[in-house]
Amino acid sequence: MRQEAFGLLFYDMRGPRLLFARTGDLLDAGVIARGLPVEQALRARDPASRAAAGGLIRRLVDKGFLREQPVC
């Protein structure tokens, strides 16, 4: 996954297939690469953008581009 002007570009080696995620500045590649807990990653956001970013993360998980895992 990497940062592009439109947002995030995901590469899924199982296809391979690409996902152009028009995330704008809601999510950045660094946050995802570091694997921060969602709450921590979005802490500084206002409620509206936090909800939008949370929704995006959920959809990326549903599509298999992100994996949810326990932090401890």
């Binding site: 940062q3 439109f6 080696m13 297939r17 152009f20 028009r22 995330t23 809601l26």
Partner: protein
């Protein structure tokens, strides 16, 4: 929908075709690289590993290795390991003659490699007539080894007038071996230019293949046939030329080109020996021209939104004009036959 993101320009290629050597132990009649002996100044191991580092820093996801025969390069497995160690997925296009159980086992351990073995006919005589005596049997031997491993493996066949009638049979063969089938387009580059008139598929064969493809979602074509792609397959991938937008080609001596079929001096975008690859990708005039290319002669066609003018490389090889439209697009094939001639997704918040 994703086309507009691609056309706006990506920070790096999604994948790179890297022809690591021009050396080949075969002399296939349609070889796009006219491979044979090694190129005079092929990248050293140190240069090759440095390039892997740079591709990694840029965020390139995949490297497609070809040649020549990549396994003839003594350090090839070292270069592969460097890619895998940095999370870069690889695909190797090989003639299969240098694969043995030990090598297949080493490749399988990475879990990040796919292999395409070239086979240009379902019948021995068809394949050997194009690729050389004994190549059919040797390719099948390699495919047998790979099929027993966890490596994603495919037969890669170049569609020609000689094997067009055998593609369904080739699909059956692939299925029986437990591998997939990938069909690539024959383009008049390298030795393929000399064999073009003889091996070029006829319009009727292209149409027949297009119709056959429509019912075969499991057959991969890369972007080779997007100008011929039937409606039923449109959802499987991007429908525009990815050269200089999604991909590019690095030659054995480090020269960078928009694609493997445009490795000519007039399309040399730079050399990784002379400047960083990132600078070539972002700043090359050749790449900027490809990104801005408009195929105006096709814009009024009702299929324009589906193929955007097709493959500029074929147009160039046949008419020395990138912008004249793909001479073998679906519309032109239909016109020729009737005599009237004259996998992506987008996600937002």
């Amino acid at each position: 929908m994703s086309n507009r993101f691609v056309e706006a320009g990506l920070t790096a290629p999604v994948n790179v075709t890297w022809e690591v050597t021009l050396a080949c132990n075969l002399r296939c009649r349609h070889c796009l690289s006219a491979a044979g002996g090694p190129a005079p100044r092929e990248l050293t191991t140190r240069e090759a590993l440095g390039l892997v580092d740079e591709l990694h820093r840029m965020g390139v996801f995949q490297v497609n290795f070809g040649g020549g025969e990549p396994f003839l390069r003594p350090d090839f497995e070292e270069v592969l390991a460097a890619c895998h160690g940095r999370g870069i997925v690889t695909c190797i296009s090989t003639n299969g003659t240098l694969l043995d159980p030990a090598r297949v086992d080493r490749l399988a351990r990475s879990g990040m490699v796919a292999v395409q073995v070239s086979l240009d006919g379902a019948r021995r005589e068809t394949c050997d007539a194009i690729r050389g005596e004994g190549t059919y049997d040797r390719a099948l031997e390699a495919l047998g080894l790979l099929a027993q491993s966890p490596i994603p493996t495919s037969i890669n066949a170049v569609l020609t007038s000689a094997n067009a009638g055998e593609i369904p049979e080739l699909h059956d063969l692939a299925t029986s071996l437990g591998v997939s089938l990938r069909v690539s387009r024959f383009r008049p580059a390298g030795r393929g230019a000399a064999a073009w008139d003889e091996l070029r598929p006829h319009a009727s064969q292209l149409l027949e293949f297009s119709a056959w493809l429509a019912a075969r979602g499991d057959v991969r074509t890369g972007d080779s046939f997007f100008s011929l792609t039937p409606q039923e397959r449109m959802g499987l991938g991007l429908n525009l030329c990815g050269a200089a937008k999604l991909t590019c080609c690095i030659g054995p001596e480090g020269d960078v080109y928009p694609c493997a079929f445009l490795q000519m001096p007039e399309f040399r975008a730079g050399s990784v020996r002379e400047e960083p690859f990132a600078g070539i990708w972002a700043g090359s005039g050749v790449f900027r021209a490809l990104r801005g290319l408009r195929i105006r002669s096709c814009e009024s066609c009702h299929r324009f939104d589906r193929c955007h003018g097709g493959c500029p490389a074929v147009a160039y090889h046949m008419g020395r004009d990138l912008g004249r439209g793909d001479p073998e697009c679906l519309e032109r094939c239909v016109a020729a036959v009737t005599g009237a001639d004259g996998a992506l997704e987008e996600l937002g918040p």
